[in-house]
Symmetry: C2
Subunit: 350 residues, 2 copies
């Protein structure tokens, strides 16, 4: 029987899973809805990756290279899983491709359908993302950094004062996202560092609740941002962004000093959190696997089995499971690959 | 050739790696210095695991069960790797066991030798860990929780006021540990919750710099700790712990209120961070793999290859690489297993 590991999604976690499975000698099919592999870092034009500012295109290109070097890998681009057989594995997976619908038989499907950025216009318009051109989101600034040109969208000029507003769409019961999105502190600090390098005369502020620079991010990103690049961290809550005299007036409270603040900025960057992508919601429903109340896939048996789902033979990896950094994506991809390949008919040494 | 995957260390990460490799059908040898598997959670008598308070013995026992169910697994207890051949893989790994030295041939060695808790008496005696019996560390309280008896060691009475001091041995340039130890905020909050459940009349405080409750820990641990269990979080720096009138006087600064504080406590819990275990340092040197300046194993190619080291065929997982939570251990173990098994002579379908 021609059984294949089917990986749905070609971003960091899906690629990690597919490479690990492929290097184990397993036949692998990767299904990607876009016309290229690489996921969010490529789709959203990330300049560089945490924590070492590695070039996003190079890193993702390296993964694609590793994948293509595997013996039996099928990459289906502009493709989508449109059906999965009911009942026990092996599953028949129906995939709509540009050349028609194809079917693959698989004892193990890996869901790597990822996240989407929180839409900062949803429910709350506190920060004016859709009203004021100089209010942007992390991924917008990332794209500017990649272009090599950080400007105020309103007039094309270099901003002199830039601030990041943390926890937009995260840690927020009102909008239903009580979780922390895990990576925004690191990503904002990385971008703040890059802005300071690109615009040495600029002042860069980060308004935060807690700086969640866990593990090595503390020493790799957070300390250099402060000491070497003079990014200014202010513990505070931003309540409003308003236009004034051609600038943006950022209002809130400095909670360390215990006083209200009102600071004019040229560019405001919203550190938007993670939500499940439409693909994650759709695949979870199609596969009949449990989702948590936020719509992410629920891991069945945490903390020491991070990738099994409520359905035997279906695994989830990376940000399909919830907020995750790149290391989480790489590692969980590997664990899922091992589990998935173990379910193929032939085994190592078998 | 009888090639085996050799996993050094039988804690969460090592077990995850060994199980994943074993389930792939690979011959696996696990080398554990203690007389039992399970790592720190068993050795240090953890009561429960983050984030769901799962019973530590049950969870680790489940992993051991999964490992023993694999077809070709050799578990060497009270054993230690005492030599590894130089040059390219396959390596000859010499292992001292209670029945003498044995040799195994392996194309891929997985270092899962873990961490040790920061010694709060080292270099600084600010907090009086070795002077005052009612100053304990996270793992001491964990053992008390497992015993079902949280008491003041000085007199065996239930404490009425308990506090946790975060970042002991972490985020501290003076002692050379600039990194954040990642899990202490979650572990302290978990223990604080358990103390409140065990001693409903107690008051429990956590003194912190930033609460690093990343991802779901925010909603799984942090919010319930505050809202349901009334753990009191105070942003502040503790500078001194002194005995006074049979209690401990905790002195520092409440940085939110901007004022000095001096609070009598019955029990002070130091949230000690992670350092590389002696085994991690020793194995890194014996294998000739790069270590970072803290002594942890340096991952060769982060962020999207989390487990490769500077030596081809040698992988590192879990806290051998630096601060890591249980999910990190499980996932990185899986990735290393996939990479390691891919290097065996026989492949899936091959």
């Amino acid at each position: 029987m021609d059984e294949r590991v089917v990986v749905i999604g070609g971003g960091p976690a899906g690629l990690s899973a597919a490479i690990a499975a492929g290097q184990l000698g397993a036949p692998v099919t990767v299904v990607e809805k876009l016309g290229y592999l690489g996921g969010r870092p490529i789709e959203e034009h990330y300049a560089s990756l945490t924590p070492h500012l590695a070039d996003a295109e190079e890193v993702m290109g390296g993964m694609v290279h590793d994948l293509e070097a595997c013996a039996d890998v099928e990459i289906l681009l502009e493709s989508e899983v449109v059906g999965v057989s009911e009942g026990d594995a092996p599953f028949t997976v129906s995939i709509r491709t540009p050349r028609g619908v194809v079917e693959r038989t698989s004892p193990s499907v890996i869901v790597a359908t990822g996240f989407q950025h929180f839409d900062p216009g949803r429910e709350t318009q506190l920060y004016g993302y859709y009203e004021f051109p100089d209010v942007v989101a992390l991924q917008d600034l990332e794209a500017m950094l990649k272009e090599g040109s950080v400007v105020r969208p309103s007039n094309g000029e270099a901003p002199k004062r830039i601030c990041f507003v943390q926890c937009v769409g995260s840690r927020d019961r009102q909008i239903g996202n009580e979780y922390c999105s895990k990576v925004c502190c690191g990503v904002a600090s990385k971008e703040a560092t890059e802005v300071r390098m690109a615009l040495p005369d600029s002042e860069v502020f980060i308004f935060y609740i807690d700086m969640r620079m866990y593990g090595y991010w503390e020493s790799q990103i957070y300390w250099p941002a402060q000491e070497k690049h003079h990014v200014q961290y202010v513990k505070g809550i931003i309540t409003e962004v308003l236009p004034k005299d051609g600038k943006l007036l950022v209002r809130g409270e400095d909670t360390t000093m215990g006083r209200p603040m009102e600071i004019p900025m040229d560019l405001v960057v919203l550190s938007v959190g993670m939500e499940p992508s439409p693909g994650t919601r759709r695949m979870a429903q199609m596969l009949g696997i449990e989702q948590n109340k936020y719509g992410f896939v629920e891991a069945k048996n945490p903390p020491l089995d991070t990738v099994s789902t409520s359905r035997d033979g279906v695994f989830a990896v990376g940000t399909a499971l919830g907020p995750a950094d790149l290391e989480d994506c790489a590692s969980s991809g590997g664990l899922a690959a091992a589990r998935a390949v173990a379910r193929l008919g032939t085994r190592v040494g078998g």
